[in-house]
Symmetry: D2
Subunit: 335 residues, 4 copies
């Protein structure tokens, strides 16, 4: 049994990770931590676990964690995470980090969108944990940067096109709509029910931190420098991201060839399903699946993907990475 610790277990991604591991036949939760004011029995912190999990969420004890876990799901916020990861790695643990701290290869880009990077040593060795694209590197990693929810949806929507060199590299526009859980657990004016309900609004115009991340990964897949305009929106539903990606093809391609290209690219993938019609987020909510569909429209390609932002966009993908890391069936706990 793989022994799993979750640091920052009191948020939405923590809850989802707990839920998945409770149903995982080859991994077990051994240690759950959070800030002192958010500790307590799992049953109390998350009433939905009443009777399903008898564990306690405790303040982190760095002495203890090395002895009780093989891998840490580090669900800390950006900027906080890199304060803990070096110690966790130092304790001999594998780390799957949910924050953005190890996703952007170039510290300067990180520092433009976040702050000074204080752990460049480990950054250099981190592997970007999108299994459909970087499975081999993941298998041998000590530190996995679990992808952002928007980059996961955006890149999976167009990876076959990028790989094939089919996209004009400066033509990509990612229009995404996320459910409200993406905003996290802390109450705020924007996500107060009477504000968010019956509403939809754009945010992060021109400055969202997932923009450089999408560009980096898309460029990696394309093998050339790709520019992306990314515009997120929030809508009145709990979970799910629908990504609508517009791009110009570098050569003409019809719908049949598009479908074949996607089918071939994702043929061996367990969690990406190529649709022949447009997906809705409800088709994937609660699962680690990503549904994709692409069509040629008026000289452009419009590609769609739907994922659950907390599952495939965070905790499900982390477990998928963990399964790869420990040589388990990649789908264990996720089907």
């Amino acid at each position: 049994m793989v022994r799993v610790a979750i640091i920052g277990a009191s948020g939405y991604t923590g809850a989802e990770a707990i839920k998945i591991i409770l149903g995982h036949s080859e991994a077990e939760l051994t240690y759950l931590t959070a800030l002192p004011e958010e500790c307590g029995p799992v049953e109390t912190v998350f009433p939905q676990f009443k009777g399903r999990c008898g564990m306690e969420i405790e303040p982190l004890d760095m002495e203890e964690i090395g002895g009780v876990a093989d891998v840490v799901l580090c669900c800390l916020p950006h900027k906080v995470s890199m304060g803990f990861v070096p110690k966790l790695l130092g304790a001999g643990l594998k780390v799957i980090d949910f924050s953005a701290d190890y996703r952007l290869r170039d510290p300067q880009v990180y520092e433009t969108f976040y702050q000074e990077h204080t752990d460049k040593a480990n950054l250099a060795n981190a592997v970007y944990g999108l299994p459909e694209l970087f499975r081999d590197e993941i298998a041998g990693a000590d530190l996995i940067a679990n992808p952002g929810c928007f980059p996961t949806g955006a890149v999976l929507a167009i990876a076959p096109l990028l790989k094939e060199g089919l996209i004009e590299p400066d033509s990509i526009i990612v229009n995404a709509l996320t459910g409200s859980s993406g905003a996290g657990k802390n109450p705020s004016v924007k996500f107060h029910f009477p504000n968010m309900n019956e509403n939809v609004f754009p945010y992060g115009i021109g400055v969202h931190r997932h923009m450089p991340e999408i560009e980096q990964v898309a460029s990696d897949v394309a093998g050339c420098n790709v520019k992306v305009l990314f515009q997120p929106h929030a809508g009145p539903f709990d979970r799910g991201i629908l990504s609508t990606v517009y791009c110009r093809p570098s050569r003409e391609i019809g719908n049949e060839k598009l479908l074949k290209l996607y089918d071939d690219f994702y043929r061996r993938e367990q969690f990406v399903r190529v649709r022949t019609d447009a997906p809705g987020v409800k088709d994937v909510v609660g699962t680690n699946y990503c549904h994709v569909f692409a069509a040629a429209v008026k000289g452009r390609i419009v590609a769609f993907s739907a994922i659950d932002n907390i599952n495939k966009g965070a905790s499900g993908q982390a477990i998928q990475n963990m399964n790869i890391l420990f040589g388990l069936d990649e789908t264990e706990g996720l089907k």
Copy 2:
């Protein structure tokens, strides 16, 4: 033109009152106040008023208000309101108070559910502003206690029965479900979108402050001491209260007679509509209407009412009271 000031204009009831008065042909807004940190152009505080209202919400200046207004809609919270009302009355203003501070005739009951009452003098002269039941008293009042949202829905649902002495006085159970706007404008864990969405929960079990208010008004209408068990719930919608009231009839009554009783009782009312089927909250949202329906079921009577909690349950009813107070058509601004 009746000159209207709103104190505490930055909340949901303030916004609704502004909206109604903007469409009122015989009243005009002259003064809007709020706590300093919530002041600013109405357009900024409430984006939905962009281009519709050029006024500013300002900190309250008690010197100024007497000269610019005839009536004050006092949208302050419970306990705060009674600190301001005496001065407003002293400045010669009519006051329609949205808080609970002047609703409970017996200060001891108030003090059980709230705190020490510091303005018993005015309490003694306040009139409970439910026009369908106390229209004559409202017309001559200086201080109107605008009813709570739950009491409005609950009492209108069964007033014909109470008046007729048709209810066993200890048999009344009010089961109410409110939209989330009832919780007010401040973000909170319970009403954070990812918590409230796809959820419904009871609250205030046995201790909700509207329980004694319902009892007082129901007793007034019945002419005897009436006991009420009141249980509120919150649901995933913005606005509206559905009240389902269960009671035992003191003598047998069939559905036809029930309908006739309700029809007769509300015949002259402009804002209460007797239905021949069950109302939904969507039938009344955005209006000052209350839809009611009653049926005899297995030896009991089940009565339903639907109101908009912010409109008929607060600001619409306040304007209705204002219209009565100033001898205007009761429906002005509300149809």
Copy 3:
């Protein structure tokens, strides 16, 4: 492996049953049927199963089913079910029936609320499948009448009180609020999104078919004739039933004793959790759990329960029954 057939697999309860059994380690789906016009690959009928289930939903072939299954989950509608059940039993299959056809012991009651009963022979041998109350009978049954969603929630909320003889038998009022999935898969005016969204309404006033079912089960538990007034409402959320049950205690009981009574009663249950505060439906949605809470209020008891109407209220409970029937761990596939 228990071989499971689902008849009527194309509806919401069918989909939930498929999902649960896919994760069940000792049962496997062997046969899925539906009306011809609703047949096709599971992946097509339910896009959420893309890549998760390669089976086909086929028209029912009564010759075939006997050879490929040990148990049938019969998800047919009321009145239709009893046309198939005798043949299924005749083919040597265990049957767990989701309809109301075998729930009401007295055919006359059935005929008042539904139509003529055409399979009284099997009705006499059917066991009501609420495991928390009738586990022993379930274990030896051939035909299990899977309980209605409302009766499940209502009875579990007050079973400890009923068993203890603590309720005045004519004092019970069940006020329930269900999510929209309770209305089934077929589009209708009432459940058209623009009608149901931001709405809540009562229905089935005085005539809902779950009323006699609740009365029968409550009477069985109480050991005396119990009368119940049941009033359902529909609200703008997918899943979940919140039941608020009002009753008069036959003798005084305080909150501490109530809690102890509930704790003792449900101590050994895996799927009922006694809360110390009020549950919300979101605490149980997606699970087979029932959360209950009771409080003494003004001379009455108010008891609450929350369940997922499609899971504990239908398919989850059916699998729980199946597990009992085949001597498996009762929680298999459900945790």
Copy 4:
């Protein structure tokens, strides 16, 4: 008083038009018609009008309508409308048509997306009723083609840029998200509450009928041939369209200049508000307002608009057109 008839009054746009005209001080409803099976008292067809409108919706009598109305709001579906409009015009009535039948100047384009056009004579004289762009033509028209909801939002979002020649004409992508009321009143699988709730999905990929309409109007404003890729999505809310429009500027422009351009362009408009931040649909729902905002992002311009699809996107805009047509204050009934 302008006498208004509504044909096809039983749908969502009919209800909204009724509501607006009930509050209009210089227009009155004189005749409401619908298909025979949808006729009846307004109070019955739309419970929200109980006590607010005593009229009857009747089957259309073409003899009668000429004598009782000055203007007809023709809320019939596409293809049906052009069967009635010639007769209405022949009866001397002004017609504001809600369908697409008179919006596309080129019958061939119409016939590609709809069917054969059977009233080309009137098509040639119809005026496209977007007051902010074509006010003068509207004032003298007999037949106004009331714009589609998506074209209204899309074109208002970028009209200042188009007018100024600031957009590369083949670079426009309109990504729109509409509330469910856009699908109309008839129940359907896609908009069944349990399907649409917690969901968001794209539709009409590459083939939506509003695409040529947006192109035509955008080309008119730009004075050159403009190509538009239009992709609509549906989301889990009642009302509102958020349009996110991406385009390439033909010359560089910064955010300050963009704001000034928009401010200047819309300075005299009563119903378009230029925002300095991104609008949400909740800021405009229930009103005839359109909120717009534009920003320069990574070499592109991203422009946003929010409207209420049934109000500014249909019935509100129709009344705005009617006000212009009859020389009334353009905002009458709409503020």
